[in-house]
C-alpha cells in the first residue's frame, strides 16, 4: 500500500482528454463518497447545534453553537489525553517501524514479499482479540509482569494493565502496520544508485543514511505517522480494554454520549471538534514536512 504516488512516471503517461470519459470513471465512486461521507458530515454539523427537546432522542434545531464550547470544556481532559496518547503511540510505532521497514527494504533479499505479508498478517486475527491478548500478556498472570517483578524493575504491587502504559502500548501495536508499509514503500523506491553515489563521494554508512536515505524516505514517514496518529487519536477500544476510568479518551466520551446518554448534539459537536483539530494538525504537519503529494 503505497500512499505516495511515484513522482516520475505520472507526468508523461497522462492523456489530455477533453471528453467526458474520465468523469464517467469518477462518477459512481465520487457519488458514493458524496452521499455517504460529505452528506453525513453535513448532517453531523446540523445535529451539533441542536438541543434536547425534553424527550429522549428528540432534538430541536436551535443553532446553539455553545454546544461546541460546553462539550469541549466537559471533555477537555479526555481531549488532551487523546492527543498525548496518540502522539506517544505514533513515536513508539515510528521507532519500531522505521528500522523494520529498512530491514525489509534493504536486507531481506528474496524474503521481502513474505516479510511484507507478515507485517499485515496480524490484521487477520481480529484486532479486538489481539488487544485482549495484550491484556492477558500484560496481566497479573502474564509473563511480562512476572519477568519485570523478578528483575525488580517494578514493585510487586505495580500492575501493568488498566494503565496509561497499557493503552499506549496497545495503540502503538494496533497501528504498527499502518506505519511500516508507507515507510517501506518510500524506502523501496529509492534508486540504489543514489546510495552508491553517496558512497563513491566518501560518505560513510551513517552519513549516507542521514543525508540521502532519510530525506528520500520522508514522504513515507509523513504518510505513516498520519495513518497511525489519526486512528489512534479517535480510538476508544484500547482505552476501554486496556485502560481504567482515568485513561478514557475522547472516543470514549463520544461513544458514551451516542449510545449510553443518547445526547446526539454534544456527541456530534465533539466529533466535529476532533475532526477539525486533526485536520488543522495534519495541514500544519504536511506543510512543515513539505510533501504535497499525499494521495
Amino acid at each position: 500500500m503505497a500512499v505516495i504516488s511515484r513522482p516520475s512516471g505520472k507526468v508523461f503517461a497522462l492523456k489530455d482528454n477533453k471528453s467526458l470519459f474520465p468523469y464517467l470513471l469518477l462518477a459512481p465512486g465520487l457519488l458514493w463518497l458524496f452521499m455517504f461521507f460529505i452528506l453525513p458530515i453535513a448532517n453531523l454539523a446540523q445535529m451539533s447545534t441542536k438541543t434536547n427537546s425534553g424527550e429522549t432522542g428528540q432534538f430541536e434545531q436551535t443553532y446553539r453553537f455553545a454546544n461546541f464550547f460546553d462539550s469541549f470544556m466537559d471533555a477537555s481532559g479526555q481531549f488532551a489525553r487523546s492527543f498525548l496518547y496518540a502522539t506517544l503511540a505514533t513515536l513508539i510505532a515510528l521507532a519500531i517501524a522505521y528500522p523494520l521497514a529498512y530491514a525489509i527494504a534493504f536486507k531481506s533479499g528474496k524474503w521481502k514479499n513474505v516479510l511484507l505479508v507478515l507485517v499485515i498478517a496480524p490484521f487477520f486475527v481480529s484486532f479486538l482479540l489481539r488487544t485482549i491478548a495484550w491484556k492477558q500478556i500484560l496481566g497479573e498472570e502474564g509473563p511480562v509482569t512476572a519477568i519485570l517483578r523478578t528483575l525488580h524493575i517494578i514493585s510487586p504491587q505495580t500492575t501493568l494493565t488498566s494503565s496509561a502504559f497499557a493503552v499506549v502500548t496497545g495503540l502503538a501495536y494496533n497501528f504498527l502496520p499502518f506505519m511500516t508499509l508507507p515507510i517501506y514503500a518510500s524506502l523501496e523506491r529509492i534508486d540504489p544508485r543514489t546510495l552508491e553515489a553517496s558512497g563513491d563521494l566518501y560518505a560513510n554508512g551513517f552519513t549516507t543514511f542521514r543525508k540521502v536515505t532519510l530525506p528520500l524516505s520522508m514522504p513515507g514517514v509523513v504518510a505513516g505517522t498520519l495513518l497511525t496518529f489519526i486512528p489512534a487519536a479517535g480510538d476508544y477500544i484500547n482505552a476501554n480494554i486496556l485502560g481504567n476510568p482515568n485513561t478514557k479518551m475522547l472516543g470514549n466520551v463520544i461513544e458514551a454520549r451516542f449510545f449510553k446518554i443518547v445526547d446526539y448534539p454534544t456527541a456530534a459537536a465533539l466529533s466535529f471538534t476532533l475532526m477539525a483539530a486533526i485536520l488543522i494538525l495534519v495541514t500544519f504537519y504536511i506543510r512543515k514536512a513539505g510533501t504535497e503529494e499525499l494521495v
Binding site: Y102, V117, S126, I241, M275, L294, V295
Partner: protein, 266 residues
C-alpha cells in the same frame, strides 16, 4: 569476541527487525495458544489442552451467525469498493481533467477522518432520514471507507507501470481498447488484487464504524467486543487463528504461483 561484536553490529538492523516481528506476533501466538484452552465461559486462565474448540468452532452461541454476517459484509463491500475505487484510480492515473485536486482531496479526507467521526456522522444521517440501521447500512458504510484505500493502492500500481509497454502495444497496431485489455489491465491486476485484499481485511476487522451503522446486526468483531465484558469463549480464538492461517496460506500460495509464472515467462 571481536568477531562476535562485528557480527552483532553488522546484523543489528536484522536483529531489531526480528524483535519487531516478535512484538507483532506475540498477541497472535497468544490467541492461537488459548484456542486450545480447555476453558469454560471465560478464556483468561490456562486450564489444560484440548482440541474440542477446534472441532466445534460454532459451539459458542451466535458466534457463527456473527461470522457469517462479517463475511457477507466483507465480500460485498470489497467487491463494490474495488470496482468503484479502481475506476477512480484509472481516471486519476491516466487522464488530465478539471477537478483533479478536488477529487484527490475527496479521496484523502475519509482516510484523515477518525473512524468514530465517520460512524457517528453516518448514524446521524440515518437517524435524520429515518433509515433503520441494518446489514445494508453497514455495507454502505464499509464501501465508503474502503474506496479511498483501493484508490490509493491501485493508483500507486498504475503510476509504477512502464509507459513504454503501452507504447509498444500501440506501435504493434493495437487500438486503445486492445492495449488496455491485453497490456494495461493485466499489469494493473496485481494492484487490484492487493487493494481487494486490503479492503476485505479492513472491512472484516472493523468494529467502530460497524458498531455505529449495523444496528442490531452482529458481526464477528462486535461479538468479541460484547463477549469481552463477560468472558470470551475460546471459539473466538479458534476463528481468529483459522482466519490468520487461511489468509497467510492463500497469500503465500499466490506469491509462490506468481513467482513460478514469472520464471516461466522469462
Amino acid at each position: 569476541m571481536k568477531r562476535l561484536t562485528r557480527w552483532f553490529s553488522k546484523n543489528l538492523i536484522r536483529i531489531y527487525a526480528g524483535l519487531a516481528f516478535i512484538y507483532l506476533f506475540i498477541p497472535v501466538l497468544y490467541t492461537f495458544i488459548y484456542s486450545f484452552n480447555d476453558s469454560g465461559k471465560t478464556n483468561l486462565i490456562w486450564k489444560g489442552f484440548t482440541f474440542e474448540k477446534w472441532s466445534n468452532p460454532c459451539g459458542a452461541p451466535d458466534i457463527c451467525s456473527a461470522l457469517g454476517n462479517s463475511f457477507l459484509i466483507g465480500f460485498t463491500s470489497t467487491f463494490v469498493s474495488t470496482v468503484l475505487g479502481t475506476l477512480i484510480a484509472f481516471a486519476l492515473g491516466r487522464y488530465k481533467f478539471r477537478g483533479r485536486s478536488t477529487t484527490n482531496l475527496l479521496i484523502f479526507l475519509p482516510m484523515a477522518t477518525p473512524e468514530i467521526v465517520l460512524g457517528a456522522s453516518l448514524l446521524t444521517m440515518f437517524i435524520n432520514f429515518g433509515f433503520n440501521t441494518s446489514l445494508l447500512t453497514a455495507i454502505i458504510a464499509h464501501v465508503m471507507f474502503c474506496i479511498s484505500f483501493v484508490v490509493v493502492t491501485v493508483k500507486a500500481r498504475i503510476a509504477s507501470l512502464d509507459p513504454r509497454l503501452e507504447q509498444a502495444a500501440m506501435d504493434l497496431y493495437a487500438n486503445e481498447w486492445q492495449t488496455f485489455r491485453r497490456v494495461t489491465f493485466p499489469l494493473v491486476l496485481p494492484g487490484v488484487a492487493a487493494a481487494a485484499l486490503l479492503a476485505f481485511s479492513l472491512s472484516f476487522d472493523d468494529f467502530i464504524i460497524t458498531n455505529f451503522t449495523a444496528g442490531t446486526v452482529n458481526t464477528f468483531p462486535k461479538f468479541v467486543y460484547v463477549a469481552a465484558g463477560r468472558g470470551i469463549p475460546a471459539q473466538a480464538n479458534v476463528i481468529g487463528s483459522a482466519m490468520f492461517i487461511i489468509a497467510v496460506t492463500v497469500v503465500i500460495l499466490g506469491q509462490v504461483l506468481g513467482n513460478k509464472r514469472k520464471s516461466k515467462v522469462s
